[in-house]
């Protein structure tokens, strides 16, 4: 009955507002009875005695009072439920963001990153109707019919019985038809989204259509597809709407049945007038509450789906190993400590083969270590472990004598500069994008870093200068420019440890020479671990580690490796051959 266990658990965190909402609903139900009671008295007085306005005034005032009170209570109940809902949403959105943060960059930048953003934006919002509409209606549906029955039975047990017998039909039908209808609705939903996907496809491929001069002929295709979807959707809806027809029929036939029975008994003198009016006034609300539950049920559906998605993320985050040592890392320690990597292993969840399979090596302080090897050999995984974006599953990485996981993350990252292959530019100005690396830097220092990265002239030529917005919403920088901005960040951060993923391919010899010079400048005097793609970068490294299938297959300087038979010499050969 649309009770999602995870969602109900959330309800407990906002007990007060929802209790209030339930109380308001129950009181409202009592007032509804009071309203019908006073109005039936008015009608009776008019009917019986043709009373004048003065005589009616007390009952009319009472009716008005009940009505207004009930409306106010209703509003208060809704508001309370909404407040509770907003509290839950606040909590959920925070938990979601923290969970994503805990899962780390390796998870967040995986293929589903688009879906992750959607969940963060829409998922929490989608839960709203479940709590603000469905739950209050569920409470109402539990209370109101009972109160009405309790009011009807003493006045007329026959009508009460009619209501009592017909009431279970509504939830029963709802479950029976609802199941079929929800399958149908889902089918319809899929059809609709497929159609809008088709249309999106046509719009996105419009260039291609034009290239083949087919843009006119495909127009009819869109019309036909759209009509086809309409017809198939309608055949689904014909069934789906049957559910509300049935519910409506139960309600109206119940009302009609009670009215006819009351009328006949009135005519035979076996029933007094006033209860008759009283009951007639109450019956529509009896069915309405139950019927509305059906409507709100659908409104809450989306929340249940969204909840599954979100709780999936929470569960994964709960399983993720913690990342919170408490040791402080001093700059001297960071610059003078060697990295000792011992029997390091990592296997990605769901993968059969390990990405790193027992890697042991020493990365010497103040020297440059180049990682090379075929793609998929585990180079990025090793870098991610050093960055603590991933936690080792076996083995250890220590700096000096301390496992890197023992350092407080903030303290650890303060000593690390990172230049990824595809640096991310935030939706902010160039200045803000650089200031992240060192928040207290002045414009002079920023410009110095840009100069070192060979980007200063370009930034100066922009109309907004350092204030130019970049990222998704601003002007896009080219890939090469983004990489140089990332280098500028590293210059600005000036940390003793530099982790670097060298850009793979450049085609611009001028740019290439610039980048090479600034990288050499950046690496001076730091402990550098770089995934290297350029022959020259590799050749200049102090130590070269060749990774193959998650293991270190060769280790040494360029001269040592070129003398040995292995991947390194083969790779070098094939590339020089091509050049020749």
């Amino acid at each position: 009955m649309n009770i999602d266990r995870n969602l109900i658990r959330l309800l407990k965190e906002e007990k007060r507002p929802f209790t209030l909402s339930g109380l308001a609903g129950s009181l409202g139900a009592l007032l509804l009875v009071g309203q019908a009671w006073s109005l039936s008295r008015v009608v009776e007085q008019v009917f019986r005695t043709a009373a004048g306005w003065e005589m009616l005034l007390p009952s009319v005032s009472l009716f008005a009072l009940f009505s207004i009170l009930r409306l106010l209570l209703n509003q208060a109940g809704h508001q309370a439920a909404k407040n509770g809902t907003l509290g839950i949403r606040k909590m959920l959105s925070k938990r979601l963001a923290v969970s994503v943060a805990d899962l780390g960059p390796a998870f967040a930048r995986s293929e589903q990153s688009g879906r992750l953003v959607t969940t963060m934006l829409k998922g929490v919002e989608a839960v709203d109707p479940y709590f603000s509409q469905y739950i209050p209606q569920l409470l109402m549906a539990l209370v109101t019919p009972v109160v009405i029955l309790a009011a009807v039975f003493p006045s007329d047990w026959i009508s009460g019985t009619i209501l009592l017998l017909s009431a279970p039909l509504i939830p029963a039908f709802m479950i029976v038809i609802g199941r079929k209808a929800s399958v149908a609705t889902e089918k319809q939903w899929i059809t609709m989204s497929r159609m809008s996907g088709f249309f999106l496809d046509m719009l996105q491929g419009l260039d291609t259509l034009k290239l083949f001069a087919q843009e006119k002929s495909r127009r009819d295709g869109i019309g036909e597809a759209s009509e086809r979807f309409r017809r198939s959707t309608m055949s689904v809806l014909k069934i789906a709407f049957l559910s509300s027809l049935t519910l409506e029929l139960v309600g109206t036939i119940g009302t009609a049945g009670a009215a006819v029975s009351i009328g006949l008994r009135l005519a035979s003198g076996t029933m007094p007038f006033r209860p008759a009016i009283f009951i007639l006034l109450l019956i529509p609300d009896f069915y309405l509450t139950l019927r509305q539950l059906g409507t709100k049920f659908h409104a809450g559906m989306e929340g249940v789906t969204a909840s599954k998605e979100m709780h999936g993320i929470f569960d994964r985050a709960a399983e993720a190993p913690g990342n919170d040592g408490s040791r402080e890392l001093k700059a001297e320690e960071a610059s003078s400590g060697h990295f000792f990597i011992d029997d390091l292993c990592y296997t990605f969840p769901g993968s059969a083969t390990p990405a790193l399979d027992g890697v042991s090596c020493t990365l010497r302080a103040g020297s440059v270590t180049a990682l090379t090897g075929p793609s998929g050999a585990g180079k990025s995984t090793l870098l991610n472990l050093l960055l603590r974006f991933l936690e080792p599953q076996a083995g250890s990485v220590t700096l000096g004598s301390v496992a890197i996981g023992d350092y407080r993350p903030e303290s650890w990252y303060r000593q690390i500069a990172w230049v990824p292959q595809h640096p991310f530019l935030f939706n902010a100005s160039i200045r803000e994008n650089l200031l992240m690396a060192r928040p207290d830097a002045g414009d002079a220092e920023i410009e110095q870093a840009l100069h070192q990265a060979g980007l200063l002239d370009m930034v100066r030529s922009l109309p907004g200068g350092l204030g130019t917005m970049i990222g998704e919403q601003g002007s896009r920088l080219s890939g090469g420019e983004a990489q140089r901005l990332s280098l500028a960040r590293a210059f600005l951060k000036d940390a003793p440890i530099l982790l670097l993923d060298e850009p793979t391919s450049h085609t611009d010899p001028v740019l290439e020479a610039q980048l090479r010079a600034s990288m050499a400048e950046l690496m001076k005097g730091r402990t550098v671990v770089m995934i290297a793609h350029r022959l020259e970068s590799i050749r200049n490294a102090d130590t070269i580690l060749v990774l193959e299938k998650g293991r270190i297959s060769q280790k040494g300087s360029h001269d040592e490796l070129i003398a040995a038979d292995g991947f390194y010499r083969h790779a070098l050969h094939s590339s020089t051959e091509e050049a020749a």
């Binding site: 909404k82 990153s113 953003v117 603000s132 029929l249 009135l266 009016i277």
Partner: protein
Amino acid sequence: MKTLLRLVGLTRPFAWWMLLAALIGFATIGSGIGLLMTSAWLITRGAMLLPVAALQSGIAGVRIFGASRGFLRYAERLISHNTTFRILTRLRLWFYEAVEPLAPARLAIYRSADLMKRIVDDIQSLENIYARVIAPPVTALMVTALMWVLVGSWSTGAAFGVLVCQLVAGLAVPVVTAILARGTAREIAGLQAEQQLLAVDMVQGLGELRVFGTLDAHLTRMQTTEEKKLGLEKRAAAVEGVQETLSGVAMNAAVVWILWQMLPMVRNGSVSTVTITALIFGVIASFEAFLPLTGSIQHIEADIRAGERLFEIIDTEPEVKVPEHPEPFPGKGSIEARNLRFTYPGSIRPAIEEVTFSVAQGGRVAIVGPSGAGKSTIASLLVRFWNPTGGSLAISGREITDFDPEELRRNIAVVSQRTYLFGQSIRENLLLAAPEASDEVLKKALSAAGLDSLQNRLDDWAGQHGMNLSGGERQRIAIARMILQDAPFIVLDEATANLDAVTEQAVLDTIDHTCEGRTVLAITHRLHRMERFDDIVVLHEGRIVEQGRHEELISRDGFYAGMWRLQHETAV
């Protein structure tokens, strides 16, 4: 208002369907009114202890209204949904027709999938314009008229009061709440846009946020934005609540008003107690029609905003216009560019400047240079996706603007690095290039492009954006298309960029073979088999820095030679 009228205008072909659905909607609420009124009639008459026979018509009425309401509602929902879908079809066609001449130049800013998706969502959201915006006021108006007649036939004063209450519930309350909520809705939309950016920054930039120690600050910023949004939503919910309450007050006021007006008439006998009871019940039932009106005003606002966005796109002037008297396309020929210049709108730097080259009939010319040098711009100009800002671009001595753009494109086969495949069958994706081609011809083309494996899979779904195929397969489908198009001119825009070395060699062979006797312009940053070109144009930052044959350029040891070395020295 203008936007709204334009939007409503689009639904005109379905006016009769909409009227029918509104009428049935009215009948549905009408039978609700009828059910309560006949029930009241039945009970009050029954209370007069009349014989059962005198109640028969009431009993019949109760039964008829009771049963008909459900069926009417069912019919109304079917018809209105059907109409909605028809409107949606029309909206899609309308938008496609309007937007097609604008592509790709005017759509360039919407290239990202997210923005494109929003356009599609905007159109989808307009489907509600009938069900949520047009229908409810029409139905409410009819119900108002009905109640005016029903109540008015007994007492104009009472009818007038009921009318006032209905106006309050149906017009004043929705309008006032809409005004109160207007600023809020806009602010919420603004915050949602901000949240979108923050979420993308967070998910994609998580590594940077961690390393720079700014993760906590970013999380706090996200939380603050969310709290601000929730605060606004709370306000919006309060306004909504007030609206419901006020509508309820209006309904009860109508009941009291009828009593006030008609009691004297009951006393003097001009109105029976049966009538007044029935009228009260009828009025209560009639307020059902006014409930959806608030939603309808809110939808108007959303629809207008969606409409404005769509109109903003389609109301732009197309970049390329069809000449009134297009020249016939010459078939085979040469390409000549002289002092060609182009600047993208909104850009401060020209993409290409003073570019001059020519390709003789049947000749082959390569345009090379690092990415961002302006190479692809030349291809876009040649197929008339854009118009040059200056200089001239001609085919066989005639400016390309003199030709019908469609005919021009039919005669130029383009293989680009990003091959767009539609989420349809492989056959459909191939037929694009040759709509009349038989399966035999398609299979031959596939085989020539090195895709023998796909010959028996013509009906396979290519997947969304061709995702069921590998990058290499997609690329070779593009080559199969080129073969099928059989055009005298060929533009290869990084045609083999996504292929591994071995495949690349094979595909280059096919391309070379197909290009035999045609005029070829090849654009590339990958320098392979460059000796097969008659001329190589080297572009850097939009300008020609070198030009000549491969051996000449290599021996000159300039920019081209630098590129060459760079590419053939990469170790891993």
